[in-house]
Symmetry: C2
Subunit: 177 residues, 2 copies
């Protein structure tokens, strides 16, 4: 544990159907650097199952109680969880507020669906799971197919296999704050 | 079995993660009226699991072998299967061809994702599962929240609970051919 990110707090959004690696790997990478990583769900203490009905995680905090000023960055994991997150106003508002505040927002796989619902990607360059590339373009985003894309505060990746590059870009962005 | 739809052939698209009722109920309603209902998958004889990992169905025909002229209508069930269907060019092309030919196209839940990828909903009024309403609007569709919407050849519903109205609208459209 290097402690380079000590004092930094990061919200990792979670909902039913999340991709287990896309939650666990960024969390481990952040904690390894000394950051605090909190799971933000629709309700505090709610349990969420991953997309295979397997591992369960427990939310540390409800999205409605999460204030953007209390966090240095937001992570939006993928799987099918973003399909549910985007119907949670508090989650969409939190992501929108982080984008408006120019704080690092890191979205992987279908995580960009939340940013589409927040109308936060117009004119921004990003990547995502290919099934939603057309939705990203229709929302005004400039879709590219690369393992990780950083456009200002916005960090995006395509899939779990991109996680090492995704986590490294997130840590770089937090170190630069 | 009334036989009112004898001689009519309908393609029901299928992929991994389909909603079981949204495949089974339209199929049963069509067959009850004497229509032939075929499951069209990415590959012929491929097996697909539903969104809960439960019931498996087997494709009768590969999308690449399905010609729009051989069918009177297309059904696009929901669940998370449309997320995969929209990455299958042959499925998207089949849906696009049916829209272009003005044949009945019935999409329920997230089925509209396939029509977004086909760029087939500009100026059309439709409904869908609410998570993708913003994607429908961004693709030029006019989203409304009703159990079933019929706009010309396009029939859409929101969710499995809307299936009786959805199947009835599909049968009406086939009877009117």
């Amino acid at each position: 544990m290097s402690g380079r990110l000590r004092g930094k707090r990061v919200a990792i959004l979670v909902e039913e159907g999340f991709d287990a690696r896309e939650v666990a790997d960024p969390m481990a990478a952040l904690r390894e650097e000394g950051a605090e990583a909190l799971l933000v769900g629709a309700s505090a203490a709610a349990h969420y199952r991953d997309r295979n009905g397997g591992p369960t995680v427990t939310a540390d905090l409800a999205a409605s109680a999460a204030r953007v000023q209390d966090f240095d960055a937001i992570v939006i994991p993928g799987g099918f969880a973003p399909d549910r997150m985007r119907m949670r106003h508090a989650m969409v508002d939190l992501a929108a507020a982080a984008m408006a505040a120019n704080k690092p927002v890191a979205a992987i796989c279908r995580g960009a669906q939340v940013l589409i619902s927040a109308d936060a990607i117009r004119g921004r360059t990003l990547t995502c799971w290919p099934s939603i590339a057309v939705d990203v373009r229709n929302a005004g985003g400039l879709y590219v197919d690369r393992p990780v894309v950083r456009d200002g505060n916005l960090i995006t990746s395509r899939k779990a296999d991109d996680l090492p590059a995704f986590a490294a870009a997130l840590i770089d962005a937090l170190l630069a704050l």
